[in-house]
């Protein structure tokens, strides 16, 4: 088993939490995990990415080679497209459609979503709306993780375990909120499947 995942978004949107939850879940499954992340200047509202690699064998490189990523998980639609050179020909894009507009020349949203939907393996959901609907507005990143979970080959219970270890110190309420968001993401993903006839 080997999964190479690119996580993307804007600094402060919580991609490192997604990485940590998947990482902890993979370790629970006794898999090897290698994860490189971004610190420093780009965290200030800039584009950020993380390379997350999971395997049942030792992992050599901290970076995923170009064209070999199985999944791009993005919490922001434009950022989902920035790392396409890493995506393999059979890879999936799982992204939120909620734009994070902090630049004056942010592209037209409809054009952007059309572009996203022009790729063959896409799941695009409005994670912020879902998170608001289930009253966990701060957990839209975990909604996206839920949407991506069917592609991870890691059982949902292990991801829940990851949430428990990551947020353990913050109390039961926060844990439950994130688990609710995770499950909502899974449901959205299924719906998207049915709608697009996949």
């Amino acid at each position: 088993m080997k999964k190479d995942i690119i996580l993307s978004g804007v600094g402060g949107q919580g991609i490192l939490s997604i990485a940590a939850i998947i990482g902890l879940a993979a370790i629970e499954k006794k898999l090897f995990v290698k994860q490189s992340e971004v610190h420093g200047m780009s965290q200030r509202g800039g584009a950020v990415q993380s390379h997350l690699r999971i395997s049942d064998k030792e992992i050599a490189s901290d970076l995923i080679p170009y064209g070999e990523s199985d999944i791009i998980i993005s919490v922001e639609p434009m950022e989902a497209l920035r790392y396409l050179p890493f995506l393999s020909s059979h890879g999936w894009i799982i992204t939120s459609t909620t734009p994070f507009v902090n630049i004056p020349n942010y592209p037209d949203l409809d054009a952007l979503l059309n572009q996203i939907n022009s790729y063959k393996n896409v799941i695009a959901i409005n994670a912020d709306e879902v998170a608001r609907r289930i009253k966990t507005p701060k957990a839209s990143n975990v909604v996206i993780l839920g949407a991506a979970s069917p592609f991870l080959e890691i059982p949902l219970e292990n991801l829940e375990g990851g949430i428990r270890s990551l947020f353990g110190r913050k109390g039961e309420e926060i844990i439950n909120m994130n688990i609710t968001a995770l499950n909502a993401g899974v449901e959205e993903s299924k719906k998207y499947y049915q709608l697009s006839g996949l």
Partner: protein, 531 residues
């Protein structure tokens, strides 16, 4: 054995704790900050009373670490690559004095300049100091090298360098930790003159360093971190240094390279292993992150009959960090491409946070500068460097820590009046105070704006040495108290700020404007932690 999931930086820190370290000294700097933070957050480090307060700058950190070593204990100093320039004087001289307790200098280089002004390769400075250098290929080696590094340092009474890069520092993997060693008890150097670098003594000490060079080479030849791997396909021999080893292995199933290979993790370069490789193979490919340090060196000592490829002959790019795809291309292996980035994707550069006090400073400064002319604002290293980008476009320089004040002074000396410096609080206490003294001594017509957010913000809001002290420092250095103004940078105070700035810009001498409001990131972080 216990396995921890650690960043490379954290593996260095855990290795240092387990290696019996008694103190860590550092100034924050990406990608090295997490080493010290890990020790600061470590319970065991608290129990062991390990020193882990931030220092004012890398030079003071280096000297404090050397002092701890003098007193017999094991110490580490860590910094980003350009921080070693600041600490270069005590660093080079510590190789001459030698050490008492083990001393490790950990330097985190930033190839590709993810968060830096240059991508200098610290191995050159390690070689310049003529000390052993350890370069881990992964998190486990980062741990092991640090834990064992103190032993190597004490064996030859020499400081040693550990060189990591951004990618390793900020990447996590499982690390097997070993038992914790006891800390050294305090002891004084046997020779009371060892650390007295008067010329007569320094000459003797230098001879000791020179005599040790052969020992360092022998250590490299037998080091477990340098390894020769046999290979069937001798059309090519490979030298892979540090993390480049991982990128190489990524290209082969089960991590088995068909070519003879020398993995380098310890310097000086293990010449015998390289000679063996050279004698077997038709040509050599050198893989290393950073400058072509090994490539240049082996070209110097091998005969020139065979081709040596790497960053110098174009097999690999001359700049930027390596990755598995670049390495595959250099090996002539097939690579994949993925899809192109569509045109609709635009750049998203970092920006000042909403509500950041630097924004208010630049709003006011831009207005105040209108009547004084453009291209005369010198700035410095920190979040406020983002003032160079739209919408502000306020500053015209960012060179090194503290340079804003001294460059403004030099420009004023040349007749650019007024000249302005914009510097942060922690950058000011890092390297700005002495420059301000220069300006005071000549009553230079400069206006220094200290944008004080009471934190080392860019690296994550570490405690600033300057907090609560800036006004006193400026007056203490000799700035006329009438020209030390304290402002509150909020939108409501905009007009007041513009007025004060204009007055001080018109003043024909040194003035300091302290714009003081805490970083909004640290404000919200502190709120959260109080909850």
């Amino acid at each position: 054995m216990k396995k921890l999931l650690l960043l490379g930086a954290e593996a260095v820190a855990q290795g240092a704790i387990d290696g019996g370290m008694s103190g860590i000294y550092a100034y924050p700097g990406t990608p090295s900050t997490e080493i010290t933070e890990y020790v600061q957050n470590s319970k065991i480090a608290t129990e062991r009373k390990i020193h882990r307060q931030w220092s004012a700058n890398e030079k003071t950190a280096m000297e404090s670490a050397l002092g701890m070593s003098y007193a017999g204990k094991r110490a580490m100093v860590c910094m980003k690559h350009v921080g070693l320039n600041v600490a270069a004087d005590p660093f080079i001289n510590s190789a001459i004095t030698g050490v008492n307790g083990g001393l490790i200098i950990t330097v985190a280089d930033d190839p590709s300049m993810h968060s830096s002004q240059n991508e200098q390769d610290s191995r050159y400075l390690g070689k310049f100091a003529m000390i052993p250098i350890l370069e881990p290929c992964n998190q486990q080696e980062a741990y092991d090298m640090t834990r064992e590094g103190f032993v190597l340092s004490e064996k030859y009474k020499t400081p040693i360098m550990i060189r990591i890069t951004t990618r390793l520092s900020h990447s996590r993997y499982g690390v097997e930790v070993k038992e914790m060693k006891v800390q050294n008890s305090a002891s004084l150097p046997d020779d009371p003159k060892q650390f007295v670098l008067l010329p007569a003594i320094a000459r003797k000490r230098y001879k000791i360093l020179l005599d040790n060079q052969i020992n360092f080479e022998i250590e490299s030849e037998k080091s477990l971190f340098n390894k020769f791997y046999e290979g069937e396909d001798k059309s090519l021999g490979i030298i892979a240094c540090g993390i480049a080893f991982n990128y190489l292995m990524e290209n082969y199933d089960d991590q088995k390279c068909p070519h003879p290979l020398v993995k380098i993790g310890q310097y000086p370069i293990p010449k015998k292993l390289i000679d063996k490789l050279y004698s077997q193979c038709e040509k050599i490919l050198v893989l290393e992150d950073g400058y072509p340090f090994v490539e240049e060196t082996v070209k110097g000592f091998l005969d020139s009959n065979k081709k040596i490829c790497g960053r110098l002959d174009g097999s690999l790019p001359r700049d930027g960090e390596l990755n598995p795809t670049l390495v595959a291309k250099a090996l002539g292996l097939p690579t994949k491409e993925g899809l192109p980035i569509p045109e609709i994707v635009v750049n998203r550069p970092p920006e000042l946070c909403n509500g950041c006090s630097h924004r208010d400073v630049y709003e006011a400064l831009n207005e105040a500068m209108k009547s004084f002319g453009e291209k005369r604002v010198f700035s410095d290293i920190g979040c406020y460097t983002l003032g160079a980008l739209p919408p502000y476009n306020s500053i015209n320089s960012c060179v090194d820590m503290g340079a804003s004040i001294t460059m403004a002074k030099g420009a004023a000396d040349a007749g650019l009046i007024p000249s302005v410096a914009v510097i942060g609080d922690s950058t000011f206490t890092h390297s700005g105070i002495t420059g301000l003294l220069d300006a005071v001594n000549e009553n230079s017509p400069i206006t220094v704006i200290i944008s004080d957010n009471s934190a080392v913000a860019m690296t994550g809001g570490q405690q600033s040495s300057a907090t609560g002290k800036i006004k006193d420092i400026c007056i203490g250095v000799g700035v006329n108290p009438e020209h030390v103004k304290v402002l509150l940078p909020v939108p409501k105070q905009h007009n007041e700020m513009v007025k004060v700035m204009k007055e001080e810009l018109a003043y024909n001498g040194v003035s300091v404007i302290i714009a003081q409001r805490e970083c909004i990131q640290t404000v919200s972080k502190n709120k959260k932690s109080k909850k």
